[in-house]
């Protein structure tokens, strides 16, 4: 089995290289010249030339591309264009915040989504099932930044139960939790809908499988069949969706982080892209991709553990 994972790791590493190559070519092609965007209106032409030369923006793209890669090879991931600070520490410092948001968000949606999925199977084809079906479709359609604003207006402005922006100061755990509630809610509404639909669909399929017929005919109670047998077999597709979703969220959810003013990878990458801060964007995307690949590996390991057929291949 280790050989199997070894091969998979190699493939995923090659994917990382592929994505990184794709990223660096992409960010160079984005129009808009950084010097104009960064420097103030009062900058004189000489200052502009100085900056362009310093940043190496006047070199032909291929040379810059090579230079960039040569530096990466030596562990230098480039620097902020304006302040010259090295990029990697800043990007890595954003990861824990995104990690917390992504993990809490995905597990919260997983829990609620599964409960609703099981309920809708338990009461299959009743009115309750159809209502849940429509509700999950509505949840799916919730656009993140609209949800974020709505939750803020209701819970922060009107009811003032939770703070609107920020992450709470370092020591104060209660504050950090209170700052986490609204972003997690805004993040997980669409995921709850998505997971509920998947759980319901997979359970529906397993409900008509042979082994469920055998279990039924041996008198095993319905609740036990759904929880033990159907759900256990639903874990595999569910894990793939949840863990890849978690990986994508590790790439940071752009809207949630910028509206709730939370530090995060997604916001960092998008601000860097809009300010054409190439090195920050590329480093950010690389870190996000590495996290995503770790998530994919995790998914495959969990699938192997859950499904003996893969493990003993």
């Amino acid at each position: 089995m280790l050989k199997y994972f070894g091969k998979r790791l190699l493939v995923l590493l090659s994917v990382l290289v592929g994505v990184v190559l794709f990223v660096s070519t992409l960010t160079y092609l984005i129009p808009g010249d950084p010097a104009t965007i960064i420097l103030s209106q009062r900058a004189t032409p000489e200052v502009r030339q100085k900056l362009i030369h310093e940043l190496g923006l006047d070199l032909p793209p291929l040379v810059r591309f090579g230079q960039y890669w040569w530096k990466i090879f030596h562990g230098d991931f480039g620097y902020y264009m304006l302040s010259g600070r090295p990029v990697l520490p800043e990007v890595l410092s954003a990861v824990p915040y995104t990690f917390i948001l992504a993990t809490v968000g995905i597990f919260f949606s997983l829990f609620i989504g599964m409960v609703l999925g099981i309920l809708s199977i338990y009461y299959k084809d009743t009115l309750f099932d159809h209502i849940l079906d429509v509700l999950s479709a509505t949840a799916l359609s919730v656009v993140q930044y609209v949800a974020a604003l709505g939750l803020m207006l209701v819970f922060s402005v009107a009811l003032d139960w939770f703070p609107a922006i920020g992450m709470g100061d370092k020591g104060d755990i209660v504050g950090q939790i209170r700052h986490l509630v609204l972003p997690v809610l805004a993040l997980s509404i669409s995921w709850i809908g998505y997971i509920q639909r998947i759980v319901r669909q997979v359970l529906a399929e397993t409900l008509f499988s042979e082994y469920v017929k055998t279990a039924k005919s041996f008198g095993i109670p319905r609740r036990r069949i759904i929880i033990r047998h159907c759900l256990r077999n639903a874990v595999k597709p569910l894990v793939t969706v949840v863990v890849t979703g978690w990986g994508a969220l590790l790439g940071g959810s752009v809207f949630i982080e910028s509206i709730f003013a939370r530090k995060g990878l997604g916001r960092l990458i998008v601000t860097a892209l809009t300010q054409r801060d190439y090195y920050v964007a590329q480093a950010g995307i690389m870190v996000a991709v590495v996290l995503f690949i770790i998530a994919v590996m995790l998914a495959e390991i969990i699938n192997a553990v859950v499904d003996p057929r893969i493990r003993l291949e």
Partner: protein, 340 residues
């Protein structure tokens, strides 16, 4: 001498919604299963025998419904029962069914031991008396049951996952567990079809021993008449959703009445026969059942009377019914439905 009737199916019909419109794979079938006996149901594939079994077990797929008739278990009609009531009183306690295809019959993600222990636990919970049997004792009990059934190398089998075992092994395990649960009726839906002959013979032997050891009455579905004649006390032959002949095994084996049964018996290989007769034509399409005798297009003994009206299931000799107009001339009109 007849034993008491435990399960009676009275003109049961099942309706399927399919792509080509509604069809009736089971058309007002009536049968009786006596206690401790084995009723064999024979017929070519597509004649509705499995649908009949699923109907009795209330495991019909979503696009099928019991349209008419009733299923009486010790006098209680099961058709109106809900799935919940089936779960509480019937499944695993009064009736158990073993499916035709052993390969998917066990949950792929659980070890065999866990699934058997679950069945055991459920079974014990339903027994009156205390439920404090510990988990260890389950383990021993299972080994005791399986060794009793002559299944070799128990520890490997129990520790394995379903996909690591052969079809035959899985079928034997399921049969052993079914008999252990001691249901009043065990429905075996062609348990040996998916197995090769040697293993099939072992499984059949197993059924015979278990029949003797337990008081369970068996409904054995197969397309192999030879097998049924060994195993069952009475046989019902089905064709295109209808019972065409029904009676004691001995009567049917010796004096088959319905042309279809005679043709089936003729098709069986035996030492004396050099060439096998085959039945010309194909199984009729169930989506437009004829008003007349379904078998007439392939019947050798076709006569004038076949085209007049639909033959009834008539009791030609006591305890031996056949659905063929040729018996009408001897004005025997005691059809199955009128029987006591």
């Amino acid at each position: 001498m007849d034993k008491e009737v435990i399960l009676e199916i009275r003109n049961l019909s099942v309706r399927y919604r399919t792509r080509k419109g509604p069809i009736m794979p089971v058309a007002n079938v009536s049968l009786r299963v006596r206690e401790g006996e084995c009723l064999g149901i024979a017929g070519e594939s597509g004649c509705g025998k499995s649908t009949l079994a699923l109907a009795v077990m209330k495991l019909l797929p979503p696009n099928a419904r019991i349209s008419t008739g009733s299923i009486l278990l010790n006098g209680e009609d099961l058709v109106p029962l809900s799935e919940k009531e089936y779960g509480r009183r019937i499944w695993g306690k009064r009736i158990i069914m073993i499916s035709q295809n052993p390969h998917d019959a066990l949950d792929p993600v659980f070890r065999v031991r866990d699934q058997l222990e679950e069945i055991l636990w459920v079974h014990e919970k339903s027994q009156p008396g205390n439920h404090t049997a510990q988990r260890e004792s389950h383990g021993h009990e299972i080994e005791r049951i399986l060794t009793g059934m002559g299944i070799p190398d128990i520890s490997r089998v129990l520790g394995a996952y379903p996909h690591q075992l052969s079809g035959g092994m899985k079928q034997r395990i399921l049969t052993a567990m079914a008999f252990f649960c001691n249901p009043s009726i065990l429905i075996a839906d062609e348990p040996t079809t998916a197995l090769d002959t040697t293993i099939a013979a072992q499984v059949t032997e197993m059924f015979k021993d278990l029949m003797k050891a337990h008081s369970t009455s068996l409904v054995y579905i197969s397309h192999d008449l030879a097998l049924l004649s060994e195993l069952s006390t009475s046989v019902a032959v089905m064709y295109a959703g209808e019972i065409v002949e029904y009676g004691k095994t001995a009567d049917i084996a010796s004096k088959p009445m319905h042309p279809y049964t005679t043709a089936l018996l003729a098709a069986l290989p035996s030492a004396s026969k050099s060439r096998l007769d085959s039945i010309p034509g194909r199984v009729p399409d169930l989506s437009n059942p004829t008003r007349l005798c379904q078998f007439s297009p392939r019947c050798r003994e076709k006569g004038g009377w076949c085209t007049e009206e639909k033959p009834e299931l008539l009791e030609v000799t006591p305890g031996h019914w056949a659905r063929c107009s040729k018996f009408l001339t001897t004005d025997t009109d005691r059809s199955i439905h009128g029987a006591r």
